[in-house]
């Protein structure tokens, strides 16, 4: 690591200008809990860090009729301590609560977790199953990308030179829906997912059939994976052990993990099946209130 400069622009335009000018030698700086560690480990050769926390848009946290807006500079603790978010977006809270430890959560952001694009990023799968959308600003204006399309590989995203993630917008869930995320780690905290699953279910009016289901898998592919087959297998199906177990087994097929120090291929696939089953049941429980 060598000395680098720190800038804290007050507007998106200023931030975009600095990022565009410096290319890969500048990085946006939100919580810094990944960036600084990676800089020390020489993953980045940085001249400039661009603190985005002085920009009003990145610091907004709003729950409205349209949905939930999480600015890219908002730390996890603000998300999981918000009563309305706890009530209406429990799946987001499931993820935010387990990113690092308590000290880390006072700085680390959901936006940063998404931009870090780790296959194991704990907030990403919940965002995917909630149909969340990433709002990006860049040199050629603003654009929106579904979170499920945001990550393109381990540590890489759709963000182009000069582009900045400004906020994530999560549509308001309908009545009769429920969402849950859980990961498996050998330790109870301060660990990285060996495998994780987020499930969002929309039940019918009676609450006995699935109407639609979205399932996303963490740490079992180069990016968080939207398990389309598993999710759609449940459309219109009754809620029972057979339908759930079929979906879990499809999720297991859709997982394409590697073996490394955190777990083997077999262990990870096995865990996907187990956690998918558990999370479908948990999401149903939440949907039924």
């Amino acid at each position: 690591m060598h000395p680098f400069s720190y800038v804290a622009p007050k507007t998106i335009d200023e931030a975009v200008a600095v990022l565009e000018k410096n290319g890969t030698r500048a990085r946006p700086f939100a919580g810094g809990t990944d960036l600084l560690v990676q800089a020390r480990a020489n993953k980045w050769d940085l001249d400039t860090v661009v603190d985005i926390k002085k920009i009003p848009e990145t610091m907004s946290l709003e729950v409205s009729q349209e949905g939930l807006t999480i600015g890219s500079g908002v730390p996890c603790y603000q998300v999981y301590n918000n009563e309305q978010i706890k009530k209406e977006y429990p799946g987001i809270v499931d993820g935010a609560l387990i990113i690092g430890g308590i000290q880390i959560q006072s700085r680390a952001t959901i936006g940063g977790n998404l931009c870090n694009a780790a296959p194991s990023g704990d907030s990403i799968c919940p965002l995917i199953v909630y149909n969340a959308v990433a709002h990006i600003s860049g040199p050629s204006g603003s654009r929106e990308v579904a979170v499920e399309d945001f990550c393109t590989g381990p540590g890489s995203t759709v963000l182009q030179n000069g582009e900045l993630l400004v906020k994530i917008v999560v549509p308001k869930p309908n009545a009769g829906s429920g969402t849950a995320y859980q990961r498996f780690t050998p330790r109870n905290e301060m660990d990285i997912a060996v495998a994780g699953v987020a499930v969002s279910v929309q039940l019918n009016n009676n609450g006995d059939d699935f109407e639609s289901v979205r399932i996303a898998l963490a740490a079992v592919g180069p990016t968080p994976i939207l398990a389309n087959k598993a999710g759609s297998s449940l459309s219109g199906k009754p809620i029972n052990d057979d339908s759930i177990s079929e979906a879990a087994s499809l999720a297991k097929e859709e997982a394409s993990p590697i073996s490394d120090m955190r777990g083997t291929i077999e262990q990870r696939k096995h865990l996907i099946e187990i956690i998918t089953t558990r999370m479908i049941k948990e999401a149903v429980k939440r949907a039924r209130g």
Binding site: M1, H2, P3, F184, P186, R187, N188, E189, M190, D191, I192, V194, D260, M261, R262, G263, T264, E266, Q267, H270, L271, I274
Partner: protein, 762 residues
């Protein structure tokens, strides 16, 4: 003839729980650790390290690093003094300085990943680190041996050129096997023929690291007169001095080591790593040089404890009496010889009385960091094998494993696996305390749906060591006593040593002011390790206190004689902090009052005490582990845990309990998740605290403790070592609990969720 002591029970200070003398400084952040050292003109050093675990160094080009602005000096192995090729004693293990020198700075070969090849000194840390990256090294990559089987294979690449192995006394060339030792007592083969029940199995394990929070560090200044001052976080200032004298080829008196506060060591901070490099960079630049390791380097280049494999076979007769035991122990030494096969042999059968025993042990060089002591080095690995086998034997024969352990427990006179016979030991007392503990007499309770529970027990043993310690006492005129010692304080030893002096002087613990000083300021003192400090340095403090009392009796005689000379030293007696006239019991003076008069009564009163103890009181413990396993994910939660241990005499029970809890926790981590996860090409994949997976407070229950006190006659207060025994039982206690819960025996550490799932599928 070794002096022995009768146990006492009427203590005033010993057994109480005063606030530790260093407590406020440590909790307020005022204590000075190695990384806090600042000196005028201080510069920083950084290492260029090998990315390969085994390679020939064909050339090293430091020219670009030297040209970097801000760089003040660069060294390579050419700057390392020529060292002798012989073994030297460093208190807890011997070392060959030439191998150590080559290990700390590679000359012709790199033999582990992270092996230093050059060092750079620069005005600041980051300039030094960036310049170190510019050192160009040409390597010729060699095959890597990550484990004993690979290193001992026929076509194995030889890791240390010219190393001569010792195979039961025979010299062996072109080998990676440094030593093969054997202990053989009775007639093992015949005994196995007579045995009604036999159990044998092979247990495997990976290296694990002590995981101290504070990384290694060193600050050194080499002056114009070739005097070297070193500040470092070390467990042994004097052993560091000896090692440095050998590596730097200087007389010990030219080196002054100041031990800083130490953020954990567990044995791992006995060897030197950065100290000689910082000293040589200082010699080159004329400036004080500071170096601090990164966590990855701590994992990859500082000593973990050996991985390897242990084969054990035990046999019992029809009455449940153990009659034979045989084992083979293969330990990974890392890149230099010196794994703890000796201690492993001393420990493996220690909890049992077995008439016929044999042990073969092998010290094998592999392409990993050289091992260093880690809390009872060698004992947890063999306890895992032996205590698993004992449970399996009992299962096979239908015996209760607690009763079996009690019936076969070692006792005074039992011959240990290495032939030594025990003095007074507490094996049976520990077992009966375990059996009557609240935990043992409580139900496991019912597991939630999808989970199963199990309970396991295991013995653990460490012999503890004595060695050399020195203490000086000075009386202050306010009635307090300054205690000068050379034992660095890892686990509360300022308190435990001061309390022993206070007991002997009859003053409160708070009135003894301990001070840990540099190697110029106190007599030679061996490492804080081997569970020796409270025992041996405490013994020295007791001696110094008695010498001080003797000196003060003379001053009392002087006071009461009032110049007449009618009172002699022998006319004064001392008890509980008060000096009395033997002839006139109403005539007395307290320690404190006397201290206030010393300025006019002969001047400063000082004393010294030193010891060189051949042995120590053996330590035994037993743990009970209750676990709950999620059958679907394989995750094991420890839901209740109790550590029972004979400590001889608990000087400060809170720190005794702390040691028992800390050891148990490290053992639990080792049992369930910790390991060096090695890549085929060498190097550790999980060299960060994130992926190394030590347990956190959220992974552990309260560790309950039961202190058993069977005083050893070897110490004035009966103290046995405490710190090491408690890491020995957890591996097998948890393995036995997993078997109880799931019905499967896991023989490969760590017993992590992946392995449990695999075992359940079989």
């Amino acid at each position: 003839m070794v002096e022995t002591f009768e146990p006492k029970s009427d203590y005033r200070v010993i057994g109480s729980r005063p606030v530790r003398h260093d407590g406020f400084d440590k909790v307020t952040g005022r204590a000075i650790y190695g990384a806090d050292v600042k000196l005028p003109g201080l510069i920083w050093g950084a290492l260029a390290r090998s990315p390969h675990a085994h390679a020939i160094v064909k050339s090293i080009d430091t020219s670009e690093a030297e040209k970097t602005p801000g760089v003040l000096g660069v060294i390579t192995s050419k700057d390392m003094p020529e060292t002798e090729d012989k073994m030297i004693d460093l208190g807890e293990g011997d070392e060959n300085p030439r191998w150590t020198s080559n290990r700390l700075m590679a000359s012709t070969k790199v033999i582990y990943r992270g092996h230093p090849v050059a060092a750079v000194a620069a005005a600041d840390r980051y300039v030094a680190e960036e310049a170190a990256k510019k050192v160009k090294v040409e390597y010729e990559i060699l095959p890597v041996h990550n484990d004993v089987d690979s290193a001992l294979a026929n076509q194995a690449e030889i890791i240390i050129d010219g190393m001569v192995g010792n195979d039961l006394g025979e010299e062996v060339k072109n080998t990676n096997m440094a030593t093969h030792e054997r202990y053989d007592f009775g007639d093992v083969n015949k005994a196995f023929k007579d045995a009604a029940y036999i159990e044998e199995n092979t247990y495997t394990m990976q290296m694990v690291h002590q995981g101290y929070i504070e990384p290694q560090n060193a600050t050194a200044f080499w002056d114009e007169e070739d005097r070297v001052k070193v500040w470092t976080s070390t467990q042994g200032a004097f052993t560091a001095r000896t090692a440095l004298a050998n590596l730097l080829q200087l007389d010990v008196s030219r080196i002054k080591v100041t031990p800083c506060e130490i953020g954990g060591g567990f044995g791992g901070k006995i060897p030197v790593y950065l100290e000689p490099i910082a000293a040589l960079l200082s010699k080159k630049t004329g400036r004080p040089v500071k170096m601090v390791m990164e966590r990855t380097a701590v994992f990859e280049t500082t000593g973990p404890t050996p991985g390897g494999k242990v084969w054990v076979k035990i046999g019992a007769d029809n009455n449940g009496k153990l009659i034979a035991a045989e084992s083979k122990i293969w330990f990974e030494a890392g890149c230099n010889p010196g794994s703890m096969i000796g201690p492993a042999a001393q420990c493996i059968y220690a909890p049992y009385d077995i008439p016929n025993t044999r042990i073969d042990s092998y010290d094998v060089v592999v392409n990993k960091p050289k091992v260093a002591p880690y809390r009872a080095p060698g004992s947890p690995q063999v306890a895992y094998a032996m205590e698993s086998a004992v449970d399996d034997l009992c299962d096979k024969a239908g015996w209760d494993s607690m009763e079996f352990r009690i019936n076969n427990a070692s006792t005074q006179g039992t011959r240990r696996g290495d032939g030594v016979r025990f003095s007074v030991i507490g094996t049976k007392d520990v077992l009966s305390a375990t059996k009557s503990s609240n935990h043992w007499n409580s139900d496991l309770g019912t597991a939630p749906e999808g989970k199963v529970r199990g309970r396991g027990i295991s013995n653990g043993y460490w012999f503890n060591i004595g060695l050399k310690s020195s203490v000086n006492l000075n009386v202050n005129n306010d009635g307090t006593v300054t205690l000068i010692e050379g034992s660095t304080d890892i686990g509360g030893s300022r308190a435990s040593i001061s309390m022993q002096a206070a007991e002997a002087l009859g003053i409160p613990a708070e009135d003894v002011r301990p001070s840990i000083v540099d190697t110029d300021s106190v007599g030679y003192t061996d490492v804080t390790g081997g569970s020796r400090t409270t025992y041996a340095t405490g013994f020295a403090a007791w001696k110094a206190a008695n010498n001080l009392v003797d000196e003060l009796k003379g001053r009392v005689a002087m006071l009461w004689s009032e110049g007449t000379g009618e009172f002699g030293k022998d006319d004064v007696t001392f008890e509980s902090g008060v000096f009395w006239s033997k002839a006139e019991p109403q005539k007395s003076i307290s320690f404190k009052e006397l201290a206030g008069k010393l300025d006019n009564l002969g001047g400063p009163a000082i004393s010294t005490g030193s010891v060189d103890l051949e042995s120590a009181g053996d330590g035994f413990g037993m743990h009970i582990a209750d676990i709950e396993v999620d059958r679907a994910t394989g995750k094991t939660d420890v839901i209740r845990y109790t550590a029972v241990q004979d400590v001889g005499k608990a000087i400060h029970p809170s720190y005794v309990e702390g040691q028992m809890q800390g050891g148990a926790v490290q053992g639990i981590g080792w049992a369930l998740n910790e390991e060096y996860y090695m890549q085929d090409e060498g190097g550790m994949a999980n060299s960060s605290f994130l992926d190394y997976r030590m347990p956190t407070s959220l992974d552990l229950p309260e560790i309950e403790t039961v202190i058993v006190e069977i005083p050893t006659p070897l110490h004035p207060y009966g103290v046995r070592g405490v710190g090491e025994v408690p890491i020995c039982p957890p591996l097998a206690a948890i393995g036995n609990a997993i078997k109880d819960a799931l019905g499967v025996r896991l023989t490969d550490l760590p017993m992590n969720p992946g392995k449990i799932i695999e075992a359940l599928k079989k």
